[in-house]
Amino acid sequence: MKKQPLHIKRDKVVITIKDLEKSFGKHQVLKGLDLDVFKGENVVVLGRSASGKSVLIKIIAGLMFADKGKVNVLGEDVAKLKMKDLDELRLKIGFSFQGSALYDSMTLRENLEFPFLRSRKNADKPNMETTIKEVLEDVQLLEAIDQLPAELSGGQKKRAGIARTLMLRPEIILYDEPTSGLDPITSVEIIKLINEVQKKYSTSSIIITHDLTCAKNTGDRIAMLVNGKFISNGTFDEVFKTSNPDITGFYNYNFIND
């Protein structure tokens, strides 16, 4: 299913992470991470639950701050930005949450309108309507436009969450566990959608997951996070062609126990 990395521009780095550390109390979650994400590239951060994967993308989006190290997104040092500048940068970063985080008091249409209206001072309504219909067609949810999030299935919610991020035409999308809690067929649909979004919108992405099928089929590159450090970084085959027990164990557990 996964393509060759046709769109990756290796001369342009969109995210740079240098020596990133983060602790919660006495527990150090991230222990000096380094990572570059190139324009048009899908990087999968693979790791066990509670390994700090979500913390990493929350730091990238400026929802948390690191104790040490640097995160540079589209040329901006996230930690040093003023609130106004951070908000502007965030318009270029889409964030697809694990639980979709749809606003449950709003219909799907209102969920999509919400960031659009607030990010554009003179949002023109026909343009907004066209954008809403286009992104909903892309995620195949046009028929659910007037439904509330409670009326959507798990897979539809994930699609709706992705649609909401696409409203602002982000350059980078951060996916937090995009296939968690979904059946295998719906997972494959979401995987296809992630790849379609990458192609159509020319996005660069970091995909956080512990699902090897998702990692293999969406990632141009895999970064394996174990005990707060990236222990391997490369294509899926490069990462898993190893005798490192932390990696082989992860691989075997995913497939043997499925």
Partner: protein, 260 residues
């Protein structure tokens, strides 16, 4: 002295909490005055907080008026002073009962609702989702709700006072056959401009407190669904406690400036 007995961690935590509350309040004032303004959301919240509370406020105001009149009559009757009932009820309702009862009802209904709603949005990452899309959730969620409670609690208080006086009138009319005109004239003859102003100011303070406490508790919810319950519960407890403290302080101030 054994330093281990002193709970330094708890003291530090308490000071940290006070500092966080201070920052939250300052952020409210900063964001409330800076554009863009969420007028549509403020009106929506005024509708939910104000209009949707009218039935409850009507019922409590009406019952308070009747019950207070019934309870006061025997004491006044001992001195043959039942004609003072309208004045007594007017003063009691306008000065104390209407603001306090409205505030307690609002703390229970509106404060818990805000705490639970924002808490649930927080644990389901909806607030983070607004934050990462540059949608300024503090302005949309907190500023609009605090402004709405600050405006609506005084309006509900005035309405509660009117309904309470009407309830009282029905009881007085039933027993003493007093006309509506005489009752209203007597009830308002003892009420001064200071009484009405101080009640409105009280209600403004209570409304601000209830909105702010509910938003603070909800916006800072942790620990998942259990945290949502805690946020709703503590929003009610803390705002009721603060309302009583504020009542005491405002009454002291008003009494010190009231002409003897």
């Amino acid at each position: 002295m054994d330093t281990k007995v002193i709970p330094f961690n708890k003291i530090k935590k308490a000071f940290d909490e006070v500092y966080e509350v201070y920052r939250f309040i300052m952020r409210f004032f900063k964001e409330a005055f800076l554009p863009p303004y969420e007028f549509k959301e403020i009106i929506k919240q005024c509708y939910y907080i104000g209009y949707k509370s009218v039935a409850l406020i009507s019922l409590t105001g009406f019952i308070t008026g009747i019950v207070f009149t019934k309870q006061s009559r025997p004491s006044l009757a001992q001195f043959g002073a039942t004609s003072w009932l309208p004045s007594l009820i007017g003063i009691a309702i306008i000065r104390a009962l209407a603001p306090l009862i409205t505030a307690l009802i609002a703390a229970g209904k509106i404060g818990s609702n805000i705490g639970a709603e924002l808490g649930s949005m927080n644990v389901s990452e909806q607030i983070d989702a607004m934050e990462v899309s540059g949608s300024k959730p503090f302005k949309f969620l907190v500023v609009s709700r605090v402004i709405a409670t600050t405006l609506m609690v005084p309006a509900l208080m005035m309405y509660n006072g009117v309904v309470g006086i009407l309830g009282s009138y029905l009881n007085v009319h039933n027993n003493e056959m007093t006309s509506f005109k005489n009752y209203i004239t007597d009830a308002f003859s003892s009420i001064s401009f200071l009484d009405i102003t101080s009640s409105v100011i009280k209600a403004l303070v209570y409304g601000f407190t209830i909105g702010m406490v509910g938003c603070y508790k909800g916006y800072n919810t942790t620990q998942g669904t259990q945290g949502v319950g805690k946020a709703a519960n503590s929003a009610v407890v803390v705002s009721m406690f603060l309302v009583f403290i504020e009542e005491m302080i405002i009454v002291q101030i008003v009494n010190s400036i009231r002409p003897v």
